[in-house]
Point group: C2
């Protein structure tokens, strides 16, 4: 058998899932991974819980270290190596070694790009000041933690009211830091419809968070190199710390001059096998685009689950297999203190954009039988196609026991279920776990009456 050499750019979820899968299937492959940071295979999603102190050491977030991959899996991981350029005509990549500051060209037979994403930040005045952090990488998490220890900030501004913003709000509240959220859209959590976002808003206010909606970052002020204020289009907010929660950008700027096709928002275009437009070049994880199974449109989402899945699919196919990744229904979940927030499928705004005739409703139910101690409120919003009753999306907010119910709706979306199908589902029931009609079924029962 011809020897094959796989080069992987990026050593986190997607890259290492793929590399591990190729190793299991193809013991003879040569596998080299170039990773810009010192770390591999870590849970970026765990960073807020490291910063809050709930997770005590950063090592707990690391699933497998570079040395483990080298020793146990015969995967040659080179940390502190950044790929600067890809030459697909000659099948080689230009690598910068941060340790000795040298550069070299590395040839490949197969190339997997898994460079992940970075916190989006507009290049406004003072955007490089100390005290301004994204939290997309373990390195950035370590920096935030060190900054908090050293400077003991009393107040923080989070720019963006999405998942990262909310999880960091919780983390900073737990550290005793006063939190202000500056949010460009008209309500926090714009991955929910505004009527559900309003409930998150109320929950955040209950926790003492100050929220400025419909307000945009203009620039930062700094003092002695450290951020001292966030200036918006409406006001100046003094602060000791800034967290960027304005979304994730694919790490693809090094591909600007390559022949690899990118989407408008610079995510790598791939087919369902995770192949790019260039032969023997694959992409997976937060640097790549995927598809939305509900809208049937190309879709960008930066999530650990998708990175693991697309990495596994890419690895399977690189190793000679034949596996397709169908796409996502855009499921996401988030906890902020006692509140659990989850969503899947399309929003009202998306239905309107795609000219889908839909019906929608919000119901209030309980997480357990109403009489059972600890039963908490849960709000469920469903959207369905008016003509067919087919589920289009769902959103949940509630306390303990609320969030994971979104998985039934995510499974229903993947299976093209209608509201009647959801009502018919044989979901589990016992008083400690649910009302006799699960809240998602109660919502479906109400909504089917509106068709």
């Amino acid at each position: 058998m011809k020897k094959n050499k796989l080069v992987v750019i990026g050593g986190d979820a997607a890259g290492m899932s793929a590399a591990s899968k190729v190793r299991r299937e193809q013991p003879d492959f040569e596998i080299i991974v170039f990773e810009k940071s010192e770390y591999t295979s870590y849970s970026a999603c765990g960073i807020p819980y490291f910063i809050s102190g709930e997770v005590e050491t950063i090592e707990e977030l690391i699933v497998r270290s570079p040395s483990e991959f080298i020793k146990k899996y015969n995967i040659k991981v080179q940390t502190l190596h950044e790929v600067l350029e890809v030459d697909t005509d000659n099948n080689k990549v230009l690598v910068h070694n941060y340790a000795d500051k040298t550069q070299f060209w590395e040839p490949y037979d197969q190339l997997l790009i898994a460079t992940g994403g970075k916190a989006f930040c507009p290049t406004v005045e003072n955007h490089t000041s100390d005290g301004i952090f994204g939290i997309q990488t373990l390195t950035s998490g370590i920096k935030v933690d060190a900054f908090i220890s050293k400077h003991q900030p009393k107040k923080a501004v989070i720019i963006g009211g999405g998942y990262i913003g909310l999880e960091m709000a919780e983390a900073l509240i737990l550290k005793g830091i006063k939190v202000t959220i500056v949010n460009r859209s008209k309500e926090v959590m714009n991955s929910l419809d505004p009527d559900m976002g309003k409930k998150v808003h109320d929950a955040l206010q209950n926790l003492g968070v100050t929220i400025y909606n419909s307000e945009s970052l203009s620039y930062f002020e700094e003092k002695d190199g450290i951020v001292s204020a966030v200036v918006t289009d409406k006001k100046t907010i003094k602060t000791d710390l800034v967290i960027l929660g304005m979304g994730t950008s694919p790490n693809t700027s090094f591909l600007a001059n390559s022949k690899i096709k990118l989407s408008e928002r610079k995510a790598i275009k791939v087919n369902r096998y995770q192949q790019t437009n260039v032969k023997n070049v694959w992409a997976a994880g937060d640097c790549a685009e995927t598809r939305n199974l509900v809208s049937k449109k190309p879709f960008y989402i930066a999530l650990g689950t998708v990175a693991n899945k697309t990495g596994l699919v890419a690895g399977t196919n690189i190793a000679g297999g034949n596996l397709k990744f169908p796409g996502v229904v855009a499921t996401a979940v988030c906890k902020i203190c006692v509140y659990e927030i989850a969503r899947t499928g399309l929003l009202e705004s998306e239905c309107k954009e795609y000219k889908i005739d839909y019906v929608t409703t919000i119901i209030r139910s309980k997480t357990r039988a109403g009489y059972f101690p600890g039963a908490k409120d849960i709000f469920v919003k469903l959207l369905a196609e008016k003509k067919t009753g087919k589920l289009l999306g769902g959103q949940l907010i509630g306390e303990e026991g609320a969030a994971k119910r979104i998985d039934v709706l995510a499974t229903a979306l993947s299976s093209n279920l209608t509201l009647q199908n959801i009502i018919d589902l044989d979901l589990s029931y016992a008083p400690p776990f649910s009302p006799v009609w699960d809240p998602v079924q109660t919502a479906a029962r109400k909504l089917i009456g509106m068709i």
Copy 2:
């Protein structure tokens, strides 16, 4: 429009769901409900939590009282009225009024039988002694509670190691009563495979429960009219209280001489519209048979969820609608102290009986990200068809956050998903709620490797 008169026998979940639906759709129908007890629309599933004291008053278990139905819904509920006989040739039922001890024939245009189930008990010596209780009805729950208050039992024997037995074990433990379970099958929870049942066994032993498996009730001993011992085929167990958990029998003995067709285990045979073999006679809830969507066979299951759903379907059709109940996948869930146990689909024994070539595996995972505080063990067992990879069943045991994951598998079974489909599902992930691969997906990933 011709006036229609609906008689409903039984005023709990199925009967009142149907009656309420008919009232909403057909304001002109005359609706009479005959209910043997004093209560309507209550949560029988909540009885263990009333006995344990977690639910403080029996009234909390009642969703709607007879007077509410009469006043708000114009449904004539007659409590303490038992139907003794059904004459389908002349469209009338013979009713016994316990209040004044009279009997009368009541004519109907449409008849819904929703008489529920009762605790199965063999007619062994002393089976009518005081201190021996099923807990299928609110009345029986009140009796158990009163007996415990009056006699302050120190020890109890539960006959049967299924859901009711386990939930009552928890309730009695919380009352400080020493519990022994006598279980006829070779492991407790025979709705699980024995390898998973063994884990429940271990959990029960951790809670101080004594378990005798593969042991059958022979008869009871009594003293002064009160049960004093359970005699099995192996030993005599002194006791102050006996709870019957040997399963539920459909309440259909009053139909013995009617033309209404019953199954071998005396459940009423119905089609997917909840129609019996006799015109204008319908049945729903624990007295009726249903279908198993996985095995495609007739199936008997006594569960509140199914009673509500089949009641709603019967009501819709009685009111002139056209709704089918597809059947169940046999989902069930149970909590015993910190342990959560859930199941859906087929067991190994059923696969063997139906000659299905299957693969199966058990995995251990965590309910949250491994590093997240409060992450607990969860065991997931999956069964899939070897040839196609189609999911056949799933079983879970774990602590907080384990049980409701069964709903993804129940939805997958209803949608005929394969293991690969389950791996592809876009399930929610954040560290407080799940590992990045949900435990059910981890199990699917392992099992797909065995095909």
